[in-house]
Subunit: 482 residues, 2 copies
């Protein structure tokens, strides 16, 4: 079963193949093992553009893959970008558009003008067109849609009618569906003669006369079956229908869990309206993971990671999080304020006081990140949440005791006050347990409330660990030392 399958034929006549050497194509930078456009190449293009040598610029970028063209556009300065768009306007490849960062796409749209932008948009497959159109302002979108052929416009409008994170927004309407009574032979003949098939597909959907999907036949299965076999006999009925309003995170989970290559999307009446393929799911996983990491760090609404935003826009996008942090920082300060007199009497308290808070914050963040990822991968769920919660508190206790001893020893070496060491050690244990529980509970409660478990979780956590850390340390110190 796990034999290596290779059709090896000991045959002569080696077919010479010309290796296409694409200038500016992907190259391996041996220094850091990264791919991408060569810096030289970007500079060459920019130079050609600035010296107004459009023919040379066109010549340079002629054979670029659309993803590399998108990279190139992102790397150029705004002015060079406009010049490049001008140079390639005639044969602008629409596939570049979905690959661009939002801010760069806006500039490209301005350079192309609504007319040409609309023409490009109507060349895209429906899911890409909906994605790009969904990123436009309402006003711009109206201007662009008005310039599109009716069929494309309606397809985009229908796509945009679905929620932003829904399967309906993710799906593409282009697909191959055949009646269940067709044979494999009829299907293959149809595929060979049909003109307007999707550019790429992984499976054939088998539908009943009401266009409700009955199953999916992956292309490998179709290819391996003999011509007289009925399509309904080779479908995999395990692949479930995806309702248009299913959340895309659930779609991604289903694809991973069931190892699906392509799944049918159905409307409320169960009719096939589109398909989602595994390459769409790759994007979802990537975006959701980016979102988690950025949200945990307090960077919001940043699918595109901000590199092309203006400085003011970036500063502004991070403002709210910092305002909330400032509020919680003052809350922590006010806890310290309660013990101002203790600090006046013993300034060593001020010196040691950040330690418990900081350790609690860090231990809590470890738990938090683990829990956020476990929720994202569905490893953590209602049935094991309490068991895991108890474990995190226990981990906090164990590490708390350990670091209580360590911190106490260091504090003793520094201040030679055994009671002070006892105070900081006790406060450490209290705060590490609090950190474990808070790091566990905060994302779980956020998820229960229907919020994103990563969102603002760190700010809640550090509020808890700062307040508990300062209060337990300064409180115990006031009680035991003064």
């Amino acid at each position: 079963m796990s034999e290596t399958q290779e059709t090896q034929e000991p045959k002569p006549e080696p077919v010479a193949r010309t290796v296409v050497h694409r200038r500016g194509g992907i190259e391996v930078d041996s220094a850091d093992e990264r791919f991408g456009l060569a810096a030289d190449f970007v500079a060459d293009v920019a130079a050609a553009l600035r010296s107004d040598d459009r023919a040379r610029a066109r010549d340079l970028v002629n054979e670029l893959h659309y993803a590399d063209m998108a990279d190139l556009l992102e790397r150029l300065d705004a002015e060079d970008r406009r010049l490049l768009v001008e140079a390639i306007r005639e044969d602008f490849n629409a596939d570049v558009l979905p690959e661009l960062a939002q801010e760069v796409r806006d500039e490209v749209m301005d350079a192309l003008g609504f007319e040409d932008f609309a023409a490009a948009l109507s060349e895209l497959e429906s899911d890409d067109a909906v994605y790009v159109a969904g990123k436009l302002d309402a006003e711009e979108r109206a201007l662009v849609l008005a310039r599109m052929p009716q069929a494309s416009r309606m397809s985009i409008e229908q796509g945009l009618a679905h929620g932003e994170t829904s399967a309906g927004r993710l799906m593409q309407r282009e697909l191959v569906a055949v009646p269940n009574y067709w044979t494999v032979g009829e299907t293959i003949d149809y595929l060979r003669s049909a003109q307007n098939l999707p550019e790429r597909f992984f499976a054939v959907f088998v539908v009943d006369p009401r266009h409700r999907p009955q199953g999916v036949a992956e292309l490998a299965t179709v290819l391996r079956s003999r011509r007289p076999v009925r399509m309904r006999d080779i479908i995999d009925p395990e692949v479930e229908n995806i309702p248009v309003d299913m959340d895309r995170e659930d779609v991604a989970f289903l694809f991973r869990q069931r190892n699906i290559a392509a799944a049918p999307v159905v409307d409320r009446s169960g009719r096939l309206v589109g398909q989602i393929t595994i390459d769409d799911v790759v994007d979802v996983i990537d975006e959701e993971a980016s979102e988690d990491i950025l949200k945990m760090a307090g960077v919001r609404g940043a699918e595109d990671t901000n590199l092309y935003r203006t400085i003011m826009a970036t500063a502004q996008s991070r403002l709210w999080w910092l305002v909330i942090n400032l509020a919680t920082a003052f809350l922590a300060s006010s806890v310290i304020g309660l013990f101002e007199h203790s600090i006046e009497k013993l300034a060593a308290l001020a010196v040691l006081m950040p330690i418990c808070a900081s350790m609690g914050g860090n231990a809590g963040t470890q738990t938090l990140a683990t829990v956020v990822r476990s929720l994202a991968t569905r490893e953590l769920n209602p049935s094991n949440v309490w068991r895991v919660g108890w474990r995190e508190a226990a981990v906090g206790l164990i590490n708390g005791i350990l670091f209580a001893a360590l911190t106490g020893l260091i504090a003793y070496a520094w201040f030679h006050d055994p009671l002070l060491s006892l105070v900081i050690g006790s406060a450490m244990i209290v705060n590490m347990i609090a950190a474990g529980i808070a790091g566990m509970m905060i994302p779980v409660v956020l998820a229960k409330m229907g919020a994103d478990p990563a969102d603002s979780a760190v700010v809640f956590l550090t509020t808890v660990t700062d307040v508990v850390g300062f209060f337990s340390f300064l409180g115990l110190a006031t009680w035991m030392l003064l």
Copy 2:
């Protein structure tokens, strides 16, 4: 081009399809829109196992998808898990193994015994078998491999010879390759008659007589071409060969950038030795994203997010990070210690001192997360690193001025000391700029040094923001106020 492609035939005879209702199968919990096994179902299985009713347990889990079976095994207690393995030993589905968390898989292996575990392993496709074998201890692995058929054993040993994050480890050896002079018809006939094809494939590889790949034909292209067409005329030569030692992150980048479904893996002499498919890449993207988020939070070596580890193992795995944090916390404390006399004179300094440090830490983490993700998606690269660095410093300056004003006002309202407000405001600006620069530079320098940009980045960052925050605030206060 973007028309909706659907073969709609207005035909009669609706084919009734029985909806397979799989007990314990995937269900939508309308409350939180999550999927997974029903808690009831898990309890039912556990009850059957404990009452020694193996027949009922077998009956319950009979129709589970292998991924759900893996979930079930993970959710059961260790004892129930052993009982379930015992109950299903006869028809144990090997596909369950790669889906299990490491700790659970170890227990399943113990329950199965090396003999049955080895048998299961040799049923897996090569990439899954290598993955599972790679997770075993050297000792256990030797015991398992010794019990496998020679072909499977050698295939696994060859796979394990490749670096852990290499394309060679990721690839599967099973693939479909045909000589370049074959026609589409010959290829289809071969696929229909061959016995030991991979379970699933997305493309046919076209090779020269020395078994070097010349291109890839996706199945859709094969299906759409007429029988007399030569395979070499329908290949997509854009798909590059992947060297066995390419890093899997680079593989993932290439797949995303080029929108590839399946790519050939070649050895040093350029011969085709395996394939990587898009579903493998999904796993890589997921794992790398998990790693980034966990590493930033100081959770190490945690592909499996620890939920099934023992409490002691978890506590231990988080220890190092906390030790490093403790060291940096004491470093920050020692900075405060420099100003102990200032604090004795003015305890308000101790109350306000955490604010600058905390704001700097949070602003820096925003930058850090953005940069880590930009490096991961290759948006940030040597050609734009300085531009982005300057932007982050500027963002720090703008937000620094804003929060300087805000913090100064609040401090004035609290302590009625304009000079103290001036001090905290100035320190805020200094630390916000430092945070922007450090948040940017730390991951970039780590990447330059060949380290993971996410690894320990937060600890370096908070060291900078704590030290700069405390020093600038207390230093300015000592100079201006006392």
